[in-house]
Assembly symmetry: C2
Homo-oligomer: 354 residues x 2
């Protein structure tokens, strides 16, 4: 690794001149000819600044800590990390990822990140839920990703869960479904409550009365399939809104066992947590993809703009097919996510007695 000192020697100038030039602080301070010579030699010698030395001096590391709280060991954060990374890479920052299962583990990871002097933190749980931010983070720049702060002290980027539920259900209504079931999850989290509310509200706005027997909250396990099968037989739904892809699969399997085809005999709209649908499931299944990547991307942009005390760059959104957020307002702010849909919903009334 060549240093500024070496460049200074090679160019016959002092280190301070080199520093000034290489950092672009040479306007009217260093003679243009000399500046150019310095830049030349730096390039020739393949100079790369030592980020650590710089950080030690400036007290800024351009490193961001990404904390993800796993409930078990399932790594859900993939897309979000990816998005955060891409954004930070564009902004000249580095991402340090860290994770832990319980508060103690997280605390210890936070200490480690602090030793390395990160400029700020991104914080995510798995699935949008209310999280309790450790006090040890309180005085740092911090943005939550797909999570909600209990105390409302910090900005967050999350999907509009209510709207997810509302849009999905409306879609099923418009497709002509009359008995629309909700297959949700039993854990009390933002995503569950929000989507369920959206489901109810959409039905009411369509002039219907939500039928509690069509609401089926299940865990991620074996008995869930039986519960869904029971719902199938007892209530004969012709449309399903599924909390996530695991739930959608229960519907898929139950339908298959009854000789029914999704998109033909019945309609399903599911939320895709794992990005599996796109690769595997039937195109007739309508899915709402959680924009994990975009959440990470935006959260990172938000965090850095906060760190650098400048307004967020609204042009810096990623060029995905996903969506454009209606950009808003002072923090704490939740970015409302318009969501993409894939595939189509059966538009005629479904029948179980086909």
């Amino acid at each position: 690794m060549t240093t500024m000192k070496q460049i200074a020697q090679a160019a016959g100038v002092s280190v301070s001149s080199v520093s000034l030039v290489l950092n672009g602080h040479d306007a009217g301070r260093i003679k243009p000819a000399v500046a150019e010579r310095i830049r030349q030699t730096a390039r020739q010698m393949g100079y790369q600044p030592n980020a650590l030395a710089r950080s030690l001096r400036t007290n800024k590391t351009r490193m961001i800590g990404f904390i993800s709280v796993q409930v078990a060991t399932t790594p859900y954060a993939g897309g979000m990390i990816q998005g955060a990374q891409d954004a930070l890479s564009e902004l000249g920052y580095m991402l340090l990822t860290v994770s832990g299962d319980d508060a103690t583990a997280i605390e210890s990871e936070i200490r480690a990140l602090k030793r390395y002097g990160v400029d700020g933190f991104l914080y995510s749980a798995m699935s949008n839920r209310v999280v309790d931010i450790p006090d040890s983070l309180a005085e740092f720049p911090l943005v939550l990703v797909d999570a909600t702060d209990e105390t409302n002290r910090f900005p967050s980027v999350e999907p509009d869960e209510l709207r997810i539920g509302y849009d999905a259900t409306t879609r099923l209504v418009e497709a002509g479904c009359e008995r629309i079931a909700y297959i949700g999850c039993t854990e009390p989290m933002i995503a569950q409550t929000g989507r369920l509310s959206g489901y109810r509200q959409a039905l009411e706005d369509a002039g219907r009365t939500p039928n509690e027997r069509l609401i089926c909250d299940v865990l991620n396990n074996g008995p869930a399939l039986q519960a869904v099968e029971h719902l199938f037989d007892a209530e004969q739904p012709d449309g399903f809104f599924c909390f996530n892809d695991a739930r959608a699969w229960y519907v898929y399997e139950s339908a298959a066992r009854r000789g029914l085809t999704i998109g033909h005999d019945l309609s399903v709209v599911g939320v895709d947590n794992h990005r599996v649908f796109a690769e595997t499931l039937d195109p007739e299944l309508t899915t709402i993809e959680l924009p994990h990547y975009e959440m990470g991307y935006w959260a990172a942009n938000k965090l850095v703009s906060q760190i650098e005390k400048r307004p967020i760059n609204e042009d810096a959104w990623p060029h995905t097919t996903a969506m454009m957020p209606p950009l808003n307002t002072p923090s704490p702010v939740r970015i409302h996510c318009t969501l993409i849909e894939k595939g189509s919903v059966a538009t005629r009334r479904a029948s179980h007695s086909k």
Copy 2:
């Protein structure tokens, strides 16, 4: 952040004494009483060493760069990163994750990692394939994760693909399947070739002749389903070994459309790339889980032992249900992975005309 200087003042000693004590280099150099006083004040003042300053001095950062090459933007590396992170956290290291789609992007990320002074690199593609390691990494400690080095210069940790294919196929043979199909992928990669070889070898060892018409290599897209459906009708297989869960889903769907049930009418063994099976698919489907977490964990241990020029700690394997590797041999080394299986395979002869 309190510094050594502050501690020195508070304890009435010099910084060097503080440094010596806090780094455990005070054996017979600092009076035990003084040492204790120093440790006390350090604790009281909540001292956390400044990792950057230390690194600047020692030329070691205890940071590792994790490079993952995505082919598109699918974040496959989740489990591996998780494993690497956990291992490194135990070893007192920090992980810097980075990714890119093409060689240029990767090169630029590598430069960034070097600026931050990482001590070594982990390198992964998505799925076990032959990768071309950039020269810019050649002089650094480097371990490949779920990838194979073309030039054989670097150690790697990968699953034993041949054995995966062999074991899966053997399982189907033992379950009484007579017409065992292989649903693979068209890309030429280690995983594909290895598993296919294993499939062939298992059939031969069972005294059978592989039937080329039962081998179906498809892409991850729509036409794949048709190809599988065609295979279903033309060859009437009673057992399937699937390259990954996307392929398994094609089989699943084709079977459902024909009113056949996996585990009852036919047998399937699939390799689980996304950790989806375990959560969603039928327990009658036998899956071989790729030990992504373990690969990351082991690779990180291997890398650090290399960096610290000490033998790898063989007790440091993660306590998962997965497997114990027969620990071996000088680098470059491939860790042979014994794999877990989940669920059961139909043990009686399957029939399409049920």
